[in-house]
Symmetry: D2
């Protein structure tokens, strides 16, 4: 294999650039030409192809976002588009493809693999919801950003003796909420994976008020309940409680990546290139039990990854 | 004057603790006893008074929020409550009061002064909307937090080629929006003080698209228009533009204060104590033309402070 | 077991407070009284014992350093002191001890265990050099601080086209240097575990100059070579190269802990309490292959933990 | 004037890029062609000239360092080199020059002006030692970085009960030390402008120890005394005190600029262009009493700017 394409797709995640840099430089070391595809799958269709050399990825390790840009291409589900993508790559002598992205992006990748094109995925999404990998690129940075925000919000919560509801990203999964809540010292954490009971929460708050703990911090995943809705429900039980809402939103995606994300991104990039060169395909590069691993793409996107219940229990215990 | 009380009131702002520390320690150096009043004006009514010594304010310089806690006490507008507050202070031998806070808080302060009690205010609000002072404690930290968030959001905006609308605090005034927009590299800044024209904005965006600038960043003050409403209006003119909204919210209040806020807070605290000791009263400590100054409280809260139009013009020029 | 003592010892590491908080709160949930020992082993000798309740550890999760303070007590190697410590604990009804610290601290812990006292260690040192655990509390924060510093230094390196040598902590081990170098995009990483050749480094630099790459970044562990000495050696081969030195020093210890350190600290604290309650002793709580684990104290401090050579190789490949 | 050159020179400072961006974009708005000169004065000699358009300065507002690169060119003191620089500019139709830099850089600028070439300077140095301007670009960012480092170091100082000596930049002037010390809560601040007495410092420390304040934080400007030397001197008076030294070094130069630096940089850039266009020359753009101002270059570099003694006094009072 002498020419490999790389693209980023779907929601951007901090660390994607570190992965691109690693693919390009390790590819160069292995004697492989790396072709950057711009704007994700759209670039496969428009042949937005540009060779990348080691100097082209200088100074990007520390930058959020993705220099290859990204897009969401719903039409890529169409067989004709997938075939066109493969045809376009073949025409340019591209023999393998590396897709850096999350669940939706890896579905497209799987489709190309199932049509016979050698592909490897790199697990990258702030949501951390790909099965078979303990972490995905961007998750650690996103949670650290959320924690930093929660640290600031707590200043106001304590000063005013108020209840703050902080909504973090996570439509299907509570990974960010659980880690940000535990690490941010939340009193309650609401995730899609665990049923919650507003009455129980407000009963606990009342107990705390009696002990003169006046402020509370609730972290909820957007997929569990929206902060505004939770506020209303709490008010039903405690009409007089002073609540404030903060939706962290897109700050969770960007910023300079952390140690963790820079390092796993560098490792994933290296392993993706080496996987293709050794004949692997249809696999996702992830990390399991602190070791880089290859997961069948199909498993990664169809099997359900669940939050660590013991961590959820821990969060309850350390917030007494 | 041998005993001075100090309180924080209204919205918390980063740097309030630095001001408290300065009042306490400078008071100690001057041989004055400093009494901390907890929970703002409420503490004046409940006699929530606690003497503060230099060691009591150790390790708080770098902390957001306020160790004296704060509250909003609408009832403090009642004459009977103001008289009770003065009575309570006099009973405890308190001869002067320092109020750290913004517009609403300084109104209460003015009322006490007008009832004959020696008071001094310290300008502290992230909104920076007190007349007669160029800056208020907490503004610089709030804007730096907003800029930092905008830097992260820009990563996503550029990567996706999207239009991001970032809403910052500022109900009456556009100070945060203007500085955060200018320093954050916003393409458009919407403030309550300047009329805006959605059509003109979207026309500009269309021009930019033609030049292949695909992402835009709009910073709006909550008092100009809410981000969600702006999004809708933009969609009326450009139905196909991809927009995303981020409401920064309470992260702007907290966090470790910046150099600027720590230093003016320390200066303001010193000058507040010295003002009371030299017989000044009914004044607000602020900074004008880089010098610490005393502003009549009445002017500070009734006169209208306006944004710097030349800065607004500059923001337009550097965003071409 | 109804009463457990906890102390921090040796060099402070960010996340120690999160571990203390977890020990105290999980202990409370389990119905165990937790006694805080101040100033490490010195506090065992002076009976500097203070019961800790859940509210006593509020607001410390995000703080660097250790509220229990720490010390280095060389005399604790004396048998008589160890016996006195055990006697002191027994007199106060303390039945188990949790020691949060690194290599030296766990030696003292092992000694107490070998004298028959039930002890558990919690792996906490920025150096990450305890055998049997992949990570120790404080390491992730330290490396992130180093990376952040390197990102700033790179600005100057690039702007001037200079060679910067950044010295990070690590007397015996290169864990910080390797991760900070890899994640910081260093051109060369010098660790105690790998022999380095100045001539080879300067030859590489000359090659790069020819390709018009004018700046270089070298990260060295203090235990490999001091930055000043390295600078001199480089000058022997390249007298005209412009070099600058930066010794990061103590900023690596402090600051708000990261997600990773807050979470493993919370987990380690919980597991330490539960280990003692289930009859375990003489063990160190760590994390191996992403699972919390118990390591015999003797192994943890006597066996040699080595850096991941494949990571070192990766660092070379991504810096081409 | 239709063509203006801009260069950065001397030590890099965070915010230089914001100034470049402002010069380029305001120049574009005014219908002036802006020519970027690379590597400072060296680029004037080698004709390293490149036209800069608004898109060329996209995405640099938030970046430390300088995209125009910088250098120190001792030979630029030679008349022949200055004449060559002017000749080179004239040959390319360049009618005015903007030099972004500190003291040394503005000397070169003055020389060109005195030889008849229209020049304007922009005050930019982390040292803040240009006469006539209250602030220079890069100072606020440098001090905030120093404060952030001091906040981390204090964690260790408090945890161990140690004395930390933190050395900050400032060869001739104590501006960084004074602000970082005051804002960082230093117990003692040593600047070149104020004589210090080691005996008095150690006497104060002894007093504090008696009151059980075990840790101390000393901030010194490199131009007052080097941290290592100060440590030795303290040990002469207090042989048993536990001291640690931290030299902050180059981290003070880089990183994303703060609100303050981004805004004054944008203002300075705009005013520099407008000054040249309105016929001003031989002036430095700075900020005085919160207003943008023009200072004769000769005054700016020959007159002595001194620290604010009242701030120094304040630092003493708030550290009791």
């Amino acid at each position: 294999m002498k020419r490999i394409a790389v693209l980023t797709s779907g929601g951007d995640a901090s660390g994607m650039n570190a992965a691109i840099r690693s693919v390009v430089r390790v590819g160069y070391v292995r004697g492989v030409e790396i072709i950057g595809v711009y704007y994700g799958y759209r670039g496969l269709l428009t042949k937005d192809f540009h060779p990348l050399l080691p100097r082209d990825v200088s100074g990007i390790l520390e930058r959020g976002g993705t220099i290859l840009r990204t897009s969401r291409v719903p039409d890529f589900k169409l067989t004709e588009n997938q075939e066109k993508a493969i045809k376009n790559m073949k025409e340019e002598g591209i023999e393998g493809l590396i897709v850096i992205g999350g669940n939706g992006s890896q579905s497209g990748n799987l489709a190309l693999f199932e049509k016979g094109f050698p592909t490897i995925g790199i697990a990258s999404t702030i949501d951390n919801d790909l099965w078979g990998t303990d972490y995905t690129i961007g998750f650690d940075t996103a949670v650290n950003t959320a924690i930093n925000a929660i640290d600031k919000i707590r200043d106001a919560a304590v000063s005013h003796g108020r209840t703050f509801i902080v909504e973090v990203m996570g439509r299907e999964a509570g990974f960010i909420a659980l880690d940000a809540g535990l690490a941010g010292g939340a009193d309650f954490i609401l995730v899609p994976e665990v049923k919650f009971d507003i009455k129980k929460i407000t009963d606990n708050m009342r107990e705390a008020f009696k002990k003169r703990k006046m402020h509370h911090l609730i972290v909820c995943a957007e997929g569990a309940i929206h902060a505004r809705d939770l506020e209303k429900k709490i008010k039903e039980y405690m009409p007089n409680v002073e609540t404030r809402v903060s939706v962290l939103g897109y700050i969770q995606r960007g910023g300079a990546p952390t140690r963790f994300d820079r390092i796993i991104a560098s490792e994933f990039g290296q392993h993706a290139v080496d996987a293709l060169l050794s004949g692997e395909k249809g696999k996702l590069v992830g990390i399991k039990d602190n070791k880089i691993t290859l997961i069948p793409l199909k498993d990664a996107i169809t099997k359900q990854k669940t939050i660590d219940k013991s961590l959820y229990k821990l969060a309850e215990e350390v917030s007494v």
